[in-house]
């Protein structure tokens, strides 16, 4: 290459808006620094030190997001780093939810890791990385960037699932997750390729512009691409029939990791699904909505019906997470502003509910995650009344009982579905929630059951888990009674596609 050519094509990178990217940078940088420092100073960390650092980092990222939120609300949405990342109310909202989930998981993981004799920092570093990946997924403005986020999240999750070296199930679940996850990534990537082939770009704004201005003579390529994308997302959000991995992985993975997977994994995947389909491919709504309708119904049915026949609490909660995914799909399927807001609100609520529930489960199942059967919960009300009461509130919220946040979440997505005239879907969803309620009641019943002997040993509740449960229950009740502000906030968190600068 001659020097003249070099001079003519001086590479000029895109402008980087460092401040707006701070939440991401804090999480990634913090994770790396935590890893390095922990390696250099292997001993002498105070009890719970890693967890506190992780929670602080996530908290800092959350605070930075608040600045971003105000910026977006005042000056409108923008795109960052040459149109790779979108900064809109939606992405900020997702960032906050993911950070909250990180804090909750860190609180649960703290005592869990010590109990399992592996007080290492890897899990926390991975958690921060995964969270960064999730945020990238939620704010990606380009399918390739989205894929990067997806892989960052997924790879971290594979390792986290395997993070308990003493338990064979943990390894097994990681392998299952890894193989199936690899497949789904391939599907997703192939979908990206086909959409690129059909529209000539991977950038969401360009795809949207192209579809708005061009009348495709042959839609087959695009439709095939959309179908493949749907498969990829379906796997990540655990929608039936792509849910097969969920029960095994949720059951096998260390309980705090399960909680993380269920909250962050789902939030990120749904965020990406909403942005890609509802916003970028909104033009083709009439093609993908029936598909989502079927997915939603299948997911609701599979999640609620199969949860009934489980005897293992972690598997029950795995299926219940599937049925929750079905509910969120009801909101996505509505494909309107209310649907997006409803899904966001549901995701936020679900993140807290699931973290609180798994915090209790972590405490109850005992060392080695061994006692995951329903029997472990028998008589919990007599061993630890407050813990049983907290779990009751959280389970009732998951069942959708009024005056809990879970009800408001269901309320929001059903309103959206009714608005979009999907009456049948709304009825099916509500009936499935009745079936799912049976599962939550089963756990509650066994907690309050008075048959059998009372185990003499009082259950020890570590401070971290206790804090997480308290936060979750408080959130559930406060939002249950006064949902107004949060609903408005979710409505302001609109995804906007801004073309690259």
């Amino acid at each position: 290459m001659s020097p003249a050519v070099l001079a003519a094509t001086t590479f000029e990178g895109p402008a980087v808006q460092w401040f707006a990217l701070l939440p991401l940078l804090i999480l990634v940088g913090g994770g790396l620094v935590l890893m390095v420092v922990a390696a250099l100073v292997p001993r002498g960390w105070p009890k719970g030190g890693y967890a506190v650092v992780t929670a602080t980092l996530a908290g800092a990222a959350m605070v930075m997001s608040v600045f971003n939120w105000r910026d977006v609300q005042d000056h409108g949405a923008q795109s960052l780093v040459g149109g790779a990342i979108a900064l809109d109310g939606f992405s900020v909202f997702i960032t906050v939810v993911i950070c909250a989930a990180v804090i909750m998981t860190a609180l649960i993981a703290d005592d869990f890791l010590r109990r399992e004799g592996q007080d290492g920092c890897e899990l926390y570093a991975l958690m921060l990385m995964a969270a960064a990946g999730g945020i990238v997924m939620g704010s990606a403005n380009d399918l390739i960037v989205l894929f990067l986020g997806l892989e960052t999240l997924s790879i971290a999750l594979y390792v986290m699932a395997a993070s308990n070296p003493k338990r064979l199930q943990s390894q097994e679940s990681a392998i299952k997750y890894f193989i199936l996850g690899g497949f789904s990534s391939a599907f997703f990537l192939y979908g990206v390729a086909l959409v690129y082939g059909a529209t000539g770009s991977t950038s969401l704004p360009k795809i949207m512009d192209f579809l708005a201005t061009t009348n495709l003579l042959n839609e087959r390529l695009l439709l095939a691409g959309m179908a493949l994308l749907m498969v990829g997302f379906g796997f990540k959000v655990a929608a039936a029939p792509f849910h097969i991995w969920v029960p095994d992985v949720y059951q096998g993975a260390p309980t705090p990791v399960t909680s993380f997977m269920a909250s962050v994994g789902k939030v990120a995947a749904f965020a990406a699904l909403l942005r890609v389909f509802v916003v970028a491919l909104g033009q083709y709504e009439s093609d993908w909505r029936p598909l989502l309708w079927v997915l939603a119904v299948l997911t609701l049915l599979v999640g609620s019906v199969l949860a009934v026949v489980q005897t293992d609490v972690k598997r029950m909660l795995a299926y219940s997470s599937i049925s929750h995914a079905g509910f969120i799909l009801v909101g996505v399927q509505a494909a309107n502003a209310k649907g997006v807001a409803g899904s966001l609100f549901y995701l936020l609520t679900y993140a807290f509910l699931v973290a609180g529930t798994f915090a209790v489960v972590t405490v109850v199942v005992g060392p080695g995650d061994s006692q995951t059967g329903l029997d472990a919960f028998r008589g919990l009300a007599r061993r630890r009344p407050s813990l049983a009461l907290a779990l009751t509130v959280l389970l009732l919220a998951q069942a959708g009982v009024p005056l809990t946040a879970g009800f408001d979440a269901k309320f929001e997505v059903i309103v959206a579905a009714v608005d979009a005239k999907s009456y049948v879907l709304a009825v099916i969803a509500m009936l499935c929630s009745v079936i799912a309620a049976f599962v939550y009641l089963r756990i509650t019943v066994s907690m309050y059951s008075t048959d059998g002997e009372v185990p003499a040993k009082r259950l020890r509740v570590p401070i971290g888990a206790a804090t997480a449960v308290t936060i979750a229950v408080t959130f559930t009740l406060v939002v249950g009674f006064f949902p107004s502000n949060l609903i408005d906030l979710a409505r302001d968190a609109v995804p906007v596609i801004v073309s690259g600068s």
Partner: protein
């Protein structure tokens, strides 16, 4: 009431709600505090309901003491309460039955949470009767489930887990469909009028929803209420729930919870969807009539005294549905009266059955014999209550049933003819039960049956007084119920496009 600024309706809901929290927070070392505090709370609530009754403007049809505060502003949801002649006596009944139910039976264990659940239940029930906002109503309607579920599941008899789950799932399935119905109602109303609101009065008076949609919506609401009442194919949860529930649970279930269904038909069925209720009236008349006959036949065949009373509930609630869907002044007024009467007399019956099972640890009719010889006062009280349930003139059951039958005869003749047979069957199963339990020579096991104690007598006294008062002089009740019923019937007439046949006599006032 105009001029009075005290938000009495909010206070009615908040008092037991706060009471529940207070009881739950009482220190575990002082279990003796639970009962006095709970009694204080329920009596205060009862006093408030009585005040509401005294303060009520007789002869006015509309809602009184209306309170409205925005709750979720962006969705048009508000804390909107009001009372009219239809809900007034249900509220008073609730206020009176709760302290009685608390006094009637002590829980075998864990009195604190038991009492807290009962108080929460009272808040939920009162909230459901007073709500004028669809969302608020739904919230209370669902909240009621949770304490009842725990009461049956935690303090019931042997098969309580099954019964409580069945109760919860049946009712929740019904209300799941209603929830979608509520949202659709609001969405369609917003489409037509441009305002998003959950306000019952506004939606009912504007009648903006198209005929076909309204019919579907009516069915969605009706399903929830039909489970609650319960109407025939959906009634199977009731005998189980009643049989397994602790005494207080059965009393409250029969006394007030079932009324949520029949009240729901009036307030949210007829009022919101008058045309659709008229369209579907034959269906509900038939189901109600089948309920009367079927419930009575089932009651005849029960061996368990409590199950017998439970099936008699099915029959009595059938009369209420019959009256509701006959759309005449007398029949609907009679239905409302019957709700109150059924609450009093069936509640009393369940309390007495509870006393029997406390003493004998069995409710098998065949195991009981000749109780009159050893406990004459107990027997007398039981027989008076049974007579009231049968509908003997001079006692309260007669007035409601009579009004329902005479009113329904005008518009639903053949259904009424069949339903009247239910009155005879009621006499059959109750008198037969009385005969088997109280008459004859007591055998060894029944000879030591204890007489009614003073405490039990005090529990029964207000109920007996009500039974006699409402039977002899129901005018004060009818005077307050009638204006609201009249407005409702006119509302249905206006939108359903049918005319009532001319009433031959002005009803059985007094």
């Amino acid at each position: 009431m105009a001029g009075s600024t005290f938000p009495i309706l909010s206070a009615l809901i908040v008092t037991p709600g706060v009471g529940a929290v207070v009881v739950a927070l009482l220190p575990k070392q002082r279990p003796q505090l639970v009962k006095p505090v709970a009694l204080l709370v329920t009596l205060a609530t009862a006093a408030l309901t009585v005040y509401l009754l005294v303060d009520f403007k007789t002869g006015a049809a509309g809602f009184q003491d209306v309170t409205k505060h925005s709750w979720i502003g962006s969705l048009g949801i508000s804390w909107h309460l009001g009372v009219d002649g239809i809900s007034l006596f249900l509220v008073v009944l609730t206020g009176i039955l709760f302290p009685i139910a608390l006094l009637a039976a002590d829980p075998p264990h864990d009195a604190k949470s038991y009492t807290a659940w009962i108080l929460l239940l009272e808040a939920g029930v009162l909230g459901s009767f007073l709500s004028l906002d669809l969302f608020l109503f739904f919230v209370f309607f669902e909240i009621v489930l949770v304490p009842m579920y725990f009461l049956i599941g935690g303090w019931g008899y042997d098969n309580r887990v099954y019964a409580s789950l069945k109760f919860f799932l049946f009712t929740m399935a019904g209300s799941a469909v209603m929830l979608v119905g509520i949202f659709t109602t609001v969405a369609l109303h917003a489409n037509e009028t441009g305002t998003v609101t959950f306000d019952v009065v506004e939606i009912a008076t504007s009648q903006s929803i198209s005929q076909n949609a309204a019919r579907w919506l009516f069915l969605a609401f009706a399903l929830a209420f039909a489970v609650k009442v319960p109407l025939i194919p959906l009634h199977t949860w009731l005998p189980d729930a009643h049989t397994q529930a602790p005494t207080a649970g059965s009393v409250l279930l029969a006394g007030v919870l079932l009324k949520l269904g029949s009240y729901g038909f009036l307030r949210f069925g007829l009022y919101l969807f008058p045309e659709a209720s008229h369209y579907f009236a034959p269906l509900f008349l038939t189901l109600g009539t089948i309920g009367i006959i079927y419930g009575a036949i089932c009651a005849c065949m029960q061996r368990d005294l409590k199950r017998l009373v439970a099936y008699s509930s099915v029959a009595h609630m059938g009369f209420i549905v019959l009256g509701t869907f006959a759309f005449t002044m007398q029949s609907v007024t009679g239905g409302v009266l019957q709700m109150v009467n059924h609450g009093v007399s069936t509640g009393a019956l369940f309390i007495l059955v509870g006393f029997i099972s406390e003493r004998r640890h069995t409710r098998e009719i065949s195991a009981l014999k000749g109780l009159q010889a050893v406990a004459p006062i107990f027997a007398a009280v039981f027989i008076v209550v049974a007579f009231s349930s049968i509908g003997l003139p001079g006692l309260n059951g007669f007035v409601g049933e009579f009004l329902v039958l005479i009113g329904s005869f005008l518009t639903a003749r053949w259904w009424t003819v069949v339903a009247a047979g239910g009155v005879i069957l009621a006499a059959l199963y109750l008198l037969w039960a009385v005969q088997r339990v109280f008459m004859g020579e007591p055998d060894e096991a029944n000879r030591s049956f204890k007489e009614l104690t003073l405490r039990e007598g005090l529990v029964m006294a207000p109920l007996l007084a009500l039974i006699v008062f409402c039977g002899v002089y129901p005018k004060p009740l009818i005077d307050r119920i009638e204006p609201s019923v009249k407005e409702l019937v006119t509302h249905v007439e206006k939108y359903a496009g049918f005319e009532l046949p001319v009433t031959p006599t002005p009803g059985a006032k007094g």
